[in-house]
């Protein structure tokens, strides 16, 4: 996994203990990556999409509910994004070249 990551830029890395891959959802909305886990995360996502909240990040350590809205690097394509989840650690990456290109 480290070899694979070395050629890619990490967009997001988040520890989600007790959360399985099936609980996690990733969506692209306009220029942002939206990561959610659990019903509480989904509810927060709904508020976000409806423009009803200014919450950017939320984690409930009791229920495992999770929501995070973060800006994607410029020039990125949705198809370039990959995500892995190992032992509760979610890592979202994109080709490192794209990250570099954004600084040209």
């Amino acid at each position: 996994m480290h070899d694979e990551l070395s050629s890619r830029a990490v967009i997001a890395r988040v520890d989600l203990p007790g959360t399985t891959r099936a609980d996690v959802s990733l969506q692209i909305h306009q220029t942002r990556l939206l990561i959610t886990a659990g019903p509480e995360g989904a509810a927060q996502l709904l508020k976000h999409l409806e423009g009803d909240t200014h919450v950017i990040y939320r984690r409930d350590r009791k229920t495992g509910g999770f929501f995070w809205s973060l800006l994607l690097p410029s020039g990125i394509r949705v198809d370039d994004i990959t995500a892995t989840m190992v032992d509760g650690m979610l890592v979202v990456t994109a080709p490192a070249a794209i990250e570099r290109a954004s600084h040209v």
């Binding site: 220029t31 909240t53 200014h54 919450v55 950017i56 990040y57 939320r58 984690r59 409930d60 350590r61 009791k62 995070w68 973060l70 800006l71």
Partner: protein, 327 residues
């Protein structure tokens, strides 16, 4: 157990201050503290020209409305009857009556003299000049109090009285400053004692200049992501990895976001740092005062010195330590 040993509750004999008194007594029972209830009869300052300026002697802050001995006795009885309506067995309650041109100054002086750990006061009910303990007085107290201040909102039909219902959820708003660690430790300690769920909130406030910048998203992200990392680290360090807590990062006006989140979560208590440290950007109304006035639940402003005392499990000598005035 938190280190509250003396609670000072300021009342003006109105229903909102009845709620404040109920909460003060409840808080004292929770923490095994003694209670002093203070009513301040405000004296009117006379205009300077009515002083003795003609004789060349400097006027000595002339006042009007001082209670006679009989009036004072009657007022004292009125205050005691008011307190008796809320008093419960097993709690030591002292009733005090002071006269002063400045209600806030009188409360601060009493708090100092009693070495109070906590002042409990109600918020204003509007521009009612007959009830000076509330409103502007509360704002003055938040600036000058030598200890923590618990501000109690007036009763509302659709809001449960936390003094009856107990605290199910505590929200601590942190600025991610040097003081945040102590403040959060205090809130976490209170949450543990009350078996309450703890929500930790930080709001990123962006300037008006940033709001109109062409690269607003990038500018915002440059502020938000480090704040998120810091918040996660703070909660992990102070609250611990195993205790139930919620982390929230929002952007916008800090006061508005705190109030909105508190209402959504049915928060029973909001914990903030000293109000003087919550200056609003651009010279607006300080966040702390905004939250205190508009929150539908009690708001606890943890004094800097008190923060370490609250979070220290057993501190026997904190009362004898001198305090620095806030501000």
């Amino acid at each position: 157990m938190s280190d509250f040993t003396r609670v000072l509750c300021a009342i003006d004999l109105t229903e909102p201050s009845r709620r404040a008194l109920d909460c003060a007594l409840w808080w004292a029972r929770q923490h095994g503290a003694d209670v002093s209830v203070l009513h301040v009869h405000r004296l009117a300052l006379l205009p300077p020209e009515t002083g003795d300026a003609a004789s060349g002697v400097a006027p000595q802050a002339p006042v009007d409305g001082t209670l006679t001995a009989d009036e004072r006795q009657a007022r004292q009885l009125e205050v005691e009857n008011f307190v008796d309506g809320s008093r419960t067995d097993g709690l030591q309650v002292e009733v005090l009556l002071d006269q002063d041109p400045s209600v806030a100054d009188a409360i601060v002086t009493r708090a100092d003299a009693l070495a109070a750990d906590l002042i409990v006061v109600g918020t204003g009910t509007g521009p009612d000049r007959d009830h000076p303990v509330l409103g502007r007085i509360t704002a003055d107290l938040l600036r000058t109090a030598p200890c923590s201040v618990l501000v109690i909102p007036p009763p509302a039909a659709d809001v449960a009285n936390p003094c009856v219902a107990g605290l199910a959820r505590i929200m601590c708003a942190v600025k991610l400053s040097d003081d945040s660690r102590q403040l959060l430790a205090s809130a976490a300690s209170l949450a543990t004692e009350s078996s309450a769920y703890l929500t930790v909130v930080h709001v990123v406030e962006l300037s008006h200049v940033a709001a109109v910048a062409s690269d607003f998203d990038a500018h915002r992200e440059a502020r938000v992501q480090p704040a998120r990392d810091e918040l996660v680290e703070l909660v992990a360090d102070v609250v611990g990895p195993d205790k139930p807590a919620e982390e929230i990062l929002a952007q916008g006006n800090a006061g508005e976001e705190i109030l909105k989140l508190a209402a959504e979560e049915s928060t029973g208590l909001i914990v903030l740092g000293p109000a003087s440290g919550f200056a609003a950007p651009g010279g607006g109304r300080p966040t702390g005062q905004m939250v205190a006035r508009e929150a539908r639940c009690p708001v606890l402003f943890v004094h800097g010195d008190e923060a370490s005392a609250i979070s220290r499990p057993f501190s026997s000598d904190s009362q004898s330590e001198p305090r620095a005035a806030a501000g």
